[in-house]
Amino acid sequence: MTPHMLTRSLDRGATIFLAIVAACGILIPLSNLLLPAGSFLQVPTYLVALWGKYVCYAILALSIDLIWGYCGILSLGHGAFFALGGYAMGMYLMRQIGTRGVYGNPILPDFMVFLNYSKLPWYWHGFDMFWFAALMVLFVPGLLAFCFGWLAFRSRVTGVYLSIITQAMTYALLLAFFRNDFGFGGNNGLTDFKDILGFNVQAEGTRAALFALSCLALILSFLICRSVVSSKLGKVLIAIRDAESRSRFLGYRVESYKLFVFTLSACMAGVAGALYVPQVGIINPSEFAPGNSIEAVIWVAVGGRGTLVGAALGAVVVNYAKTFFTSGMLAPYWLFMLGALFILVTLLLPKGIVGTFNAWWDQAKEKRAAATSASAAAEDGVTEPKMAE
């Protein structure tokens, strides 16, 4: 990323968005830590964790918008990359427990002792080091996306067929991670975390720091996405989205472009998952559930696909609504509300919240421009008859 790419990528909406995220990332942790508990402006710790979760979802939504909104790849299995990133972080956190586990084994996590593992499976080696786990957070989802995309895009699997096989991919992973002998804790997943980089994951300070880090990751992801979509590559992506075979006849290798953006998006989803796990304190196979991936697509549709800001906004708005409605008497009806929301947005706001706002804003601007030129013309009109008199 060059400075030139950065400056080109920032328009007014993007700047406002970044300012809001940065302000939240600084003010919320400060208010949580510095103000006395219970005071009016103090953000309670449970809210910091909850909003931290929303911010991770916003990163996931951005990654989906990058491929769906700009390149027309509708992945209904992006939750898989999110969960894989989460598992990589979870494995690090498990190795940090050490002798503090129920069985007190310094090497093996509790579930392995329970399942009579004699030694650590080979793929758990290295996860006691943070840098290795952090690398895997990017590498594992990226590698899966690369292999999957290489096969799918080269065979020109597109549209609904691609959506179905991404869905099958996440479902297959769900089944695999459910198995006890797969080595990732079966249906209980990984939990009971103690430390991250030596800090207690439950401590207020750690939670505040994780929240601030999530905001920073959201800002970075947004900047990367903006740089990509505002480069010439972004124009090629849109060209592929709108007329794939035309782009081929112009000499663009469509599968390479799709593979690049799909892999990048999977890495971003992995980072989102890795930040999510220490904040919610657990990762289990249900994160691979196809429903999760579909829900993430709904966030993007509600916020406005192909707008980036809309994707992040949609993730926060829909999840806030989910928290609000599933904690009251309306809880049993949440899924119906989510379904209705998707149908209503598709019918009434096909461009989503931000897309509709942008269209309205552009129209208003055009009208204003037309009005100024019309009034200028009218003034001319007024002066002319006077001259005639």
């Binding site: 030139h4 124009k235 081929r248 112009l250 663009y252």
Partner: protein, 253 residues
């Protein structure tokens, strides 16, 4: 060794004994055709004669069952995919105008320019003066300078056809395949398009598929009439249009 020694033919485009069938239907049947460098050729023929299928074969969209397709005397096009063939220098304008509707006229041309088309090249692309000058020139040629910042989707049908021809110019291929460029155009636009193609032909080899006989006559080039996937007649417009078989299957009495 001389380059000419390795060339199988002096033709820019050379098709020999090409067959294609879809589920038993012979779309192309023993088709043989040669285009000399710098030539402009008009292809006519009734619906289903195989004109578009022939373009699909040349551009790599359809693979022939048998036969030879040589580009520039050396390259076997039947082994390559669309992207590779486009990179070699064969441009195509579709029957139905296909422009990138949600992008501006200017960006459509930018996308068509024959510069680095790799992922890395486009990600770190920075506009150059030479590129914008080329775009300005194309915009002038296709008379869309005033519309450069408009979305391609908001153009009229004729303007879209022109934009697509402009995209071909920006691509600057050695061989241009133009499928029905004047479909849906007014008489004036048709005339201007003929002028434009003649101008383009000064520096490029062109193959035009068209139904509009007035337009073909105005081009004043060698004409090939296809029928049931094979060449029915070839020659000047007068020779072809006086051919008994052509009159029978295509022009009508």
């Amino acid at each position: 060794m001389n380059v000419m020694d390795t060339r199988a033919t002096s033709a820019m485009l050379y098709l020999d004994g090409v067959h294609v069938s879809f589920d038993g239907f012979h779309a192309i049947n023993n088709l043989s055709l040669a285009l000399e460098p710098g030539e402009m050729r008009a292809i006519i023929g009734p619906n289903g004669a195989g004109k578009t299928t022939m373009m699909d074969i040349i551009t790599g969209k359809t693979k022939p069952d048998e036969g030879t397709v040589l580009f520039d005397g050396v390259t076997d096009l039947t082994r390559l995919d669309e992207t590779r063939i486009a990179e070699l220098g064969i441009g195509r304008k579709f029957q139905k105008p296909t422009v990138f509707e949600s992008q501006t006229v200017q960006d459509n041309l930018l996308l068509a320019l024959n510069v680095d088309h790799s992922v890395k090249g486009t990600l770190f692309w920075r506009g150059s003066r030479a590129e914008s000058e080329r775009i300005d020139k194309v915009l002038e040629t296709i008379r869309l300078t005033d519309a450069r910042n408009r979305l391609a989707g908001s153009l009229s049908h004729g303007q879209k056809q022109w934009l697509e021809i402009g995209m071909l110019l920006a691509q600057d291929p050695k061989l241009l395949l133009v499928d029905e460029p004047v479909a849906g155009m007014t008489d004036v636009e048709t005339h201007l398009t003929a002028e434009l193609l003649k101008e383009i032909n000064k520096t490029h080899t062109v193959m035009v598929v068209e139904h509009d006989m007035t337009f073909v006559r105005e081009l004043g080039v060698k004409v090939t009439c296809l029928h049931e996937g094979t060449v029915l007649a070839e020659g000047t417009i007068d020779q072809v249009s006086s051919n008994e078989r052509v009159i029978e299957v295509y022009l009508g009495r």
